[in-house]
Symmetry: C2
Subunit: 157 residues, 2 copies
């Protein structure tokens, strides 16, 4: 059962370079993240894998996610509900890769947006460049999040 094809060689290669092993659970985590554009929690991922792979354990999910984050294949987000969320960085999906988040502080709903990314990128690039010089900091990612009330929660305040 080879769930991986041509595109996966990117991942396979990354693993080889780092000296890590591309195991069944790790493939499964990548598959799940690759199949969705949602912000999955460790539990979401566990449940998705568990359907077809009963032996998967939570510890492996967490260890794999940490690894993927360290390898810069996955982004970790905190939306304020106590659990971390994960998103693939290099994706094969047809949705825009770079986006940011609108988070409802009442119901926790998260909306992805990728409007204004171009203008934003220009400014962020400049800021990134200057900040890394000023603070001698090697920046490799950024997050922008807007907090507020979504359409449904707005009225009830």
């Amino acid at each position: 059962m080879d769930m991986f094809n041509d595109t996966d060689s990117i991942w396979a290669e990354k693993f080889r370079v780092h000296g890590y092993r591309l195991t069944k659970p790790r493939k499964a985590v990548l598959m799940v993240l690759n199949k969705t554009s949602k912000h999955l929690s460790a539990e979401d991922i566990y449940l998705a894998i568990h359907r077809s792979y009963k032996d998967i354990g939570f510890a492996t999910i967490y260890r794999t996610l940490d690894l993927l984050v360290r390898m810069n294949l996955v982004n970790r987000f905190e939306f304020g509900d106590g659990k971390s969320r994960y998103e693939l960085i290099y994706e094969r999906k047809e949705v825009p890769t770079h986006h940011h988040h609108l988070i409802c502080r009442k119901c926790g709903k998260v909306i992805d947006y990728s409007d204004f990314i171009e203008e934003e990128t220009k400014l962020i690039d400049k800021i990134e460049c200057e900040l890394s010089k000023k603070y001698d900091f090697e920046i490799d990612r950024h997050i922008i999040q807007f907090y507020g009330l979504c359409d449904e929660c707005k009225g009830e305040e």
Copy 2:
């Protein structure tokens, strides 16, 4: 012992308007947050208060912080180490209020910066305005965080 003066009437007023009581523990939390420009965790705040107020309890700290966040007096941040951090929004301090964060993904160090805030504000305002229309979302705050490696951790990678 009245730890509060003229400026505190702003807080007192806010509490009165909402119908909340300005109690000793709540004053203490505000005092601690007001005295520093650091990003304090619930435990930091507990310890600071505990020095002079032995009866303070963790539950109260957490409940107070939740309240202050809901009242928009305090911002809650997650820097990825599992604990929430808190910062006063309306401060009397001499440091710039609006700032963002550089977070070292290795040692967890957090650097505040307030460079480029003007240009940034212009763009963010515009984005905020358009997004709130497009997604029917009432935005009341945003966070921008850069992740990477600080000067000390850069070499070791």
